[in-house]
């Protein structure tokens, strides 16, 4: 309190200011500290690298099967299969339920094939008619699940979130199992009823968790868990009464790509890619949402609207995947984590990397499932994703430091 300290105090107070001013001056002349840090460039580089991984995985996968094919044959056949749609007709059919119209895209396309490389006929047929559709569908499903999983983990700020967290898969399961168990025949097949079950469930969970225009994430999460449990009971009950369809139903529940055909790829791919593009447009908002909703609001995010869009789009994307492939767990949970460890948390990079990585991951695991390398016969791919994904994830956890999202 003496006067002797007063000058010292003034001086130290002043020097703090002087220091920050000097720091400011120094930095502005020292060149841009931000040079060379463009997230979209990083995103493109990672996407390209992972796309190469995907193509290599797909080609390698196509060589494997009851009939072994060599890589050149597969590559040529695959190149011959590259077609450019010359006329595309998209008709949107609608399913009305509870005053809600669910658009169902119908894509009819005529393709012109650009290449006609000389290749062994049998090999080409095997590759184009049997293996490639399945590989393509695996890629699309993996792409969709990993993209939706990435968004859900960011959205819920919860590392345990997966694409089905608001009940999408359980809804799809009820739809699919009901169709099989009750032998419902109608204008829509198994896939459509699974898709509708999934989307309706997501919508119901959203409505349950919303009050006064606000949807608290915690409520959404718990409502999702409750609805999943309830729908699990419904599925179990339906299984009890499934009779001779029991095995088929259980096989569907495990997730498989056995009946893959180009038609399914043609329907699922546009939904997955279209949804992905919308989600990618919200990648920056997802980053900001990681800070918490109030903080995101002060940074200019319309939080509730953004949440609605993210939920709706990722639910539809997930539903499209689950409808054709059944409940394939773990891809949407583990792949985003793996890629987050590699490319970092920025969704502008993570989302595309995760989606393409998910595609490669599911192609690889489905190859194992197809060949049934460990069981002497084909397996549902859902078993393989979990059996391979979990140990690999644990390995990453032990070797890399994981803090949070």
């Amino acid at each position: 309190m003496g006067t002797a300290t007063s000058t010292d105090g003034d001086r130290s107070g002043g020097s703090a200011d002087a220091e920050s001013v000097a720091g400011a001056a120094g930095e502005s002349t020292a060149g841009s500290p931000l040079a060379g840090r463009r997230p979209w460039v990083r995103a493109a580089v990672w996407s390209a690298a992972l796309a190469v991984v995907l193509v290599v995985t797909a080609l390698a996968s196509a060589t494997v099967g009851p009939v072994s094919l060599d890589l050149p044959t597969v590559a040529k056949a695959a190149v011959n299969a590259v077609g450019v749609p010359t006329s595309v007709g998209v008709s949107v059919g609608g399913l009305s339920a509870f005053g809600l119209t669910i658009p169902v895209p119908n894509v009819r396309a005529e393709y012109t094939y650009l290449f006609d490389l000389p290749v062994d006929r049998t090999g080409e047929v095997i590759v184009r008619r049997i293996r490639l559709p399945r590989i393509a569908l695996a890629a699309v499903v993996g792409f969709a699940l990993a993209a939706a999983g990435t968004v859900m983990q960011g959205f819920f700020r919860n590392p345990m979130a997966d694409p089905s967290i608001i009940g999408v898969s359980s809804g799809a399961a009820v739809g699919a199992v009901a169709t099989m168990a009750l032998s419902i025949t109608g204008p829509f097949g198994l896939q459509l009823s699974a898709f509708c079950g999934a989307v309706l469930t997501a919508f119901a969970v959203y409505l349950i968790a919303t009050e006064g225009g606000r949807t608290p994430v915690a409520t959404l999460l718990l409502a999702g868990v409750a609805v999943q449990t309830f729908l699990g009971a419904v599925t179990s009950y339906l299984l009890l009464h499934a009779g001779q369809d029991l095995e088929r139903a259980i096989y569907w529940l495990m997730g498989n790509l056995d009946n893959a055909a180009w038609d399914e790829v043609a329907v699922t791919a546009p939904v997955a890619v279209g949804g992905f593009i919308v989600l990618l447009a919200y990648a920056r908002d997802l980053n900001v949402l990681l800070l918490g909703e109030e903080e995101a609001h002060t940074l200019g995010i319309e939080v509730e609207r953004t949440k609605r869009i993210l939920l709706a789009v990722s639910s539809v994307v997930t539903a499209a995947a689950v409808a054709v492939a059944g409940v394939i767990g773990f891809v949407g949970l583990v792949v985003p984590h793996m890629l987050r460890l590699v490319v970092g948390p920025d969704h502008r990079v993570l989302l595309p990397a995760s989606a393409i990585g998910g595609a490669a991951f599911l192609v690889a695991t489905d190859t194992v499932a197809r060949v049934g390398a460990f069981a002497g016969g084909p397996l549902p791919v859902g078993i393989v994703t979990a059996a391979l994904g979990a140990p690999f994830f644990l390995y990453l956890l032990r070797t890399r430091e994981v803090h949070s999202l």
Binding site: G13, A16, P33, E295, I301
Partner: protein, 418 residues
């Protein structure tokens, strides 16, 4: 204090007062913290009279359930003004800040920023007008500092296009907060103080005319507390930003803010320059604490020393003695509510300065001089019978000849100095 008691002391009082006002005036120029053109400009005008407020809170009421957290609060912040929001926990500080940045919607009343009502603005428009430094941030730890600061540009990005000014704005914010050298490190690798500067940099990158800060110094060490507030002060002065900060530390608020608003139980008790607002009575109402309000000899800003309000003295005490011991005694007694007088004190002594700050009637004599006749006359004129206690400034004992007060009050002083 009764006028007749003043007697001979009265002659000395004007000198003490003019010294005091001179010091207050000197604050504004020598302080270093507040040198802005606006500093002190509003000294005598109520907040609503401010010419063109950038942030204008009018009659805002916010309730959670049935409890009104804010009750018809009005407050304005002019461009180039730094207003501090003080009040005890739960007084409504954070609620007020959230009404301003649009996170919560008031039940009644309006908040205008730069002329536009926040209720009518989108989140994007609001965030171009007011930036927020939140109380605790969950700043995504894995992001790099540059990415975290870049999030401040969110309101300027299009859905599919990128804000062309982003890089420049982020660089300015990094430079200003002295965080550029961390740009490529992850937020998680920084210390708490550095992280707070990153949050501040993010708010700066928003380049808004208004800035609200919720306890920006709450978890920082002293160095970072001062640096953070000096930075806000600098921003207010150089950019004309209107800043409103909830600050727990009254000394820091008094030192860096042009005006202070005191919130208590959802009401705005007072708004004005720190030395007018931070008074013992108001602190008692707002914080339920007895406090001595002195003038910090270094910063010249009011400094508040709170005491736990356990003892209430309703008595007159004369303190004899000098130096820090007497100064401490004066402050403690004064905060406890006693009517205190002091002397004879050497002029310029710390006890004399404290006495002046506390408004304690004091008799002084030139230092290193014998007590002159005038001073002696002043103290000898003190009627011992009017006092409950004489205190020698070091130990508290009942002095021979002092009139004993009610015996049940007799323990108070011992308790006070325990």
């Amino acid at each position: 204090m009764s006028p007749d008691l003043l007697g001979p002391l009265a002659a000395l009082l004007p000198a003490v007062e003019s010294d005091e006002s001179e010091r207050t005036a000197a604050d504004r120029t020598s302080n270093g913290a507040k040198t802005g053109a606006n500093a002190g400009a509003d000294t005598d005008s109520p907040p609503d009279a401010t010419a063109d407020p950038l942030v204008d809170v009018r009659d805002v009421t916010v309730s959670y359930g049935e409890n009104a957290v804010l009750n018809d609060v009005s407050l304005s912040v002019a461009p180039g003004e730094f207003v501090g929001l003080v009040g005890r926990n739960g007084a409504g500080k954070t609620t007020l800040l959230k009404a301003i940045n649009g996170v919560s919607t008031p039940d009644s009343g309006t908040v205008r920023i730069d002329g536009a009502a926040v209720g009518d603005l989108s989140a994007r428009e609001t965030s171009r007008r007011v930036a927020t430094v939140p109380q605790d941030t969950t700043l995504a730890f894995e992001f790099t500092v540059a990415d975290a600061v870049e999030m401040g540009r969110t309101p300027y990005h299009g859905r599919l296009s990128t804000d062309p000014d982003a890089t420049a704005a982020v660089e300015r914010a990094l430079a200003r907060t002295d965080t550029a050298r961390f740009a490529d490190r992850t937020v998680g690798s920084l210390s708490g103080g550095e992280r707070q500067r990153v949050v501040l940099a993010r708010a700066l990158a928003q380049e808004t005319p208004a800035l609200v800060l919720d306890e920006p110094t709450a978890s920082l060490d002293v160095n970072h507390q001062v640096r953070t507030l000096a930075l806000v002060r600098d921003l207010v002065e150089s950019e004309g930003t209107a800043a409103l900060a909830a600050i727990h530390d009254l000394d820091l608020a008094a030192r860096f803010c042009d005006r202070i608003a005191v919130l208590a139980d959802g009401d705005c008790l007072a708004v004005g320059p720190p030395d007018e607002v931070l008074t013992r009575d108001r602190l008692r109402t707002a914080f339920d604490a007895d406090a001595a309000v002195l003038s910090n000899p270094v910063t010249r800003a009011p400094t508040v020393t709170p005491f736990p309000s356990t003892v209430a003295l309703d008595c007159a005490v004369h303190v004899a003695g000098s130096g820090p011991a007497a100064a401490g005694t004066l402050a403690t007694l004064s905060a406890a509510g006693a009517t205190v007088t002091a002397g004879v004190l050497p002029a310029g002594d710390v006890a004399a300065a404290v006495a002046a700050d506390l408004g304690v009637e004091t008799v002084t004599a030139p230092p290193f001089a014998l007590i002159d006749a005038e001073a002696e006359a002043a103290t000898s004129g003190v009627d011992a019978a009017a006092f409950d206690r004489f205190v020698d400034g070091v130990s508290v004992e009942r002095t021979e000849g002092a009139r004993p007060s009610d015996d049940d009050e007799g323990v108070d002083l011992d308790e006070l100095f325990g």
